[in-house]
């Protein structure tokens, strides 16, 4: 019986004298004089800031109606967002073709699930499907022009759809390139090492904006006469080249994290260098760096908004476009708050996944 008694918590003075809630407040908010003052100051500030914000966003806001005439209150005018909602997600994609983007997105989610889930069998097959087959399928779906699908020019692509497309292409392109560069940077061959270091440090030393500017203005000058690539493709190519440098550094961290005994053991079994790296070192390294890669993807997803400055219409671009609509002037705050919230939801979900992955990895070690 002594075990049962030992397992129980002895009642503290707080339990005996006060209800649990009061005890919690005392311990967490008023544990010392300094903490009490801090709590009171913070609460006073919150009382000043939160109610007006709540009034603006919820109680005094308007969401019904179809024109700006509906927004008579002094709160936010969410009607503007509601009327423009599809545009924010699909850009100028033809309304009757939205299903194509939806199907592509559903495919992406369906393929990402087995790749990211724990304990998938034949994960490599799924990765290949995602990185090779899916892009081809999505390109056919989104571009069209074949199989009776009408052609949709990339200049019509926009909104959150463009953010997702650009992030996917960038990750799919920069991960392999980044892995090569990471190996290059660790190589014993001086020329390979120096080229990789030069590449990585060059791209990491310049702002993304200058790289996008290069893609928009300077890249056409480097294309042979008669060859042209559209704006979006050029921007994505620049994003791939740029992001590969960051991916390389993340992957290099993972390669350094693989115990050298692994490589030595594989070597002593007589495997060739390529086999050692591909079957022993890289799989273990990639496992370590998944959280790092997800962080890079979150950063990338946020940074893709910069394409707005070179004249592409991602979510931020479509919001800015909508703000210039004479019928809806003066709702800038609503527009930016809305786009910030959409990004917040996407990025929080991604980083939460990254953190859970990190915890799982930490537990496994």
């Amino acid at each position: 019986m002594s075990d049962a008694v030992a397992g129980q918590r002895l009642p503290t003075r707080g339990d005996l004298m006060t209800p649990r809630a009061v005890d919690w407040v005392r311990r967490n908010l008023f544990s010392s004089i300094f903490n009490s003052i801090l709590t009171i100051v913070v609460m006073a500030l919150a009382a000043l800031i939160v109610p007006p914000l709540f009034r603006w966003a919820v109680t005094h806001a308007t969401i019904s109606g179809t024109t700006r005439a509906a927004c008579t209150g002094d709160g936010a005018c969410w009607t503007f967002i509601r009327m423009r909602f599809p545009r924010f997600f699909y850009g100028n994609y033809p309304t009757d073709q939205y299903w194509r983007a939806d199907v592509a997105f559903a495919l992406l989610v369906a393929l990402c699930a087995p790749v990211l889930r724990d304990g998938t069998r034949h994960r490599w097959m799924w990765v290949l499907l995602l990185l090779v087959v899916f892009p081809a399928l999505a390109a056919v779906l989104l571009w069209g022009g074949v199989f009776g699908l009408s052609y949709v020019d990339t200049s019509l692509w926009g909104g959150l759809m463009l953010d997702i497309i650009a992030s996917f292409v960038t990750v799919a392109g920069s991960l392999p390139l980044g892995i090569l560069l990471a190996f290059g940077r660790r190589s014993q061959l001086p020329v390979v090492r120096m080229l990789s270091v030069g590449y990585i440090e060059l791209w990491r030393g310049v702002p993304l904006l200058t790289v996008l500017f290069m893609s928009a203005v300077v890249l056409p000058l480097f294309l042979p006469a008669g060859v042209s690539a559209d704006r979006l493709l050029r921007a994505m190519a620049a994003l791939v080249l740029f992001n590969a440098a960051y991916m390389a550094e993340v992957v290099r961290g993972g390669l350094q994290g693989v115990p050298s005994g692994q490589e030595e053991a594989a070597d002593s079994l007589g495997l060739r260098w390529w086999h050692v790296q591909a079957f022993v070192v890289l799989p273990q390294a990639l496992r370590i760096v998944v959280p790092g890669i997800i962080n890079t993807v979150v950063d990338l997803f946020k940074d893709i908004t910069l394409v707005t400055i070179i004249g592409l219409f991602d979510l931020l671009g479509t919001v800015e476009q909508a703000l210039k609509d004479p019928a809806w002037l003066g709702f800038a705050t609503e527009g930016y708050v809305f786009s910030a919230m959409v990004f917040f939801v996407c990025c929080s979900a991604l980083s939460a996944y990254g953190r859970s992955m990190e915890r799982r990895l930490a537990k496994g070690q």
């Binding site: 709590t39 001086p190 480097f222």
Partner: protein, 371 residues
């Protein structure tokens, strides 16, 4: 590393180099042909040409008609100004939020967490534009300026700070004050009776401040005169928005770095120090912070580099920094795309290399000496 590269691999790397050179040569020849078609030759001679545009905000005198080279200098200074302000503000705010995250007060801890999560998960560009369009541009006009502490005024035309007017002794007093501040870190390490002087060298700071104050004739407070604000220094709203966006964003990352660094110091260190009889303040300043600092320096360096690079986002709010002018007006007028991009990348790359060299030197100084 048990394996030596094979002779074949050693030979192959030169092939790679040859391929890279060939691609570069190919691109160069295409570019030369393209610019030949447009009757332009590559070269930076145009930097000596007179310009035909204005730069609305500058730290050094500028007039329409000055050379492109001077425009470059004006823009580099504008970029550095925005980056320097943001780095200082972001570091202070980040330290504060990072320490708030470790507070025993539930409310304070969670407000810091909410701030970090909200800021880290929204794009920096959206934040900068938000500060500019949704906050600064909705401020009242000069007549209804918001009065902040210390005579600072805030209105739709920007932030007005009191300025300091020097009297004729300033030229004599201010250089020594600056010199005292600069030698302070070195005096810190000078040995005296067997020990470094250390914290006693902080006495130099009040001396420097007194010298500085002695050189001030009066302060010029901004005030409403007619329809506008006169006196003081005007900080344009573009700069305020850019610095707010950059520093609030980076502060969230720095806060996480600070928190992780403090938590990374092993519990035993603190316990051992306490059991040796050190006071809690000594434990923090002599045991925890010096060890946390070592962990902090490299990631904070990369945050500083990010701030410098992100200052190019000033283009979104038309703050006249490097990108805004040299990928915009200056490029349009001179028609020099390739030169502009080389200049832009070159300047950013050099600033970054200098900062990272400095931070690496600092990192080596504070790094743990492994014996």
């Amino acid at each position: 590393m048990v394996r030596r590269p094979s002779p074949r691999a050693r030979a192959a790397q030169w092939l790679l180099l040859a391929a890279v050179v060939a691609v570069a040569w190919l691109l160069g020849s295409i570019a030369a042909e393209t610019s030949g078609r447009r009757h332009a030759t590559l070269g930076f001679g145009y930097l000596a040409d007179p310009t035909n545009f204005d730069i609305p905000f500058r730290l050094i005198p500028w007039a329409v008609g000055d050379t492109y080279a001077r425009a470059l200098l004006v823009c580099v200074l504008n970029t550095l100004l925005a980056a320097a302000i943001s780095i200082v503000v972001a570091t202070l705010l980040g330290l504060l939020v990072g320490i708030m995250r470790l507070s025993t007060n539930w409310l304070v801890r969670n407000i810091a967490l909410g701030y970090i999560e909200l800021v880290r998960n929204t794009p920096q560009l959206v934040q900068i534009i938000f500060w500019y369009v949704a906050v600064l541009q909705t401020l009242p006009g000069p007549r209804q300026s918001i009065l902040l502490p210390a005579g600072v005024l805030l209105n739709v035309r920007g932030l007005y700070l009191p300025s300091i007017v020097a009297d004729n002794r300033a030229a004599m007093l201010w250089p020594p004050a600056l010199a005292l501040l600069l030698v302070m870190p070195f005096v810190w390490r000078v040995p005296w009776r067997g020990f470094p002087i250390g914290a006693k060298s902080l006495l130099l700071i009040p001396v420097a401040i007194m010298l500085f104050l002695a050189g001030i004739d009066h302060t010029d407070l901004p005030a409403l005169r007619g329809f506008n604000i006169a006196g003081g220094v005007q900080v344009v709203p573009e700069l305020v928005a850019l610095c707010a966006g950059l520093s609030i964003y980076s502060a969230a990352f720095i806060a996480e770095i600070v928190r992780a660094a403090i938590l990374s110091v092993q519990k035993g260190q603190r316990e051992a120090a306490l059991s040796l009889g050190l006071r809690p303040r000594q434990v923090l300043s002599k045991i925890i912070l010096p060890q946390a600092l070592r962990v902090m320096v490299p990631p904070i360096t990369s945050q500083y580099l990010n701030i410098i690079k992100s200052s190019s986002l000033g283009a979104a709010v038309a703050y006249p920094e490097l990108y805004e002018i040299f990928a915009g007006t200056a490029m349009m007028q001179s028609n020099r795309e390739i030169e502009s991009i080389i200049l832009l990348m070159g300047v950013f790359l050099s600033i970054n290399l200098i900062v990272s060299a400095f931070m690496n030197w600092y990192n080596r100084r504070v790094a743990l000496v492994v014996r």
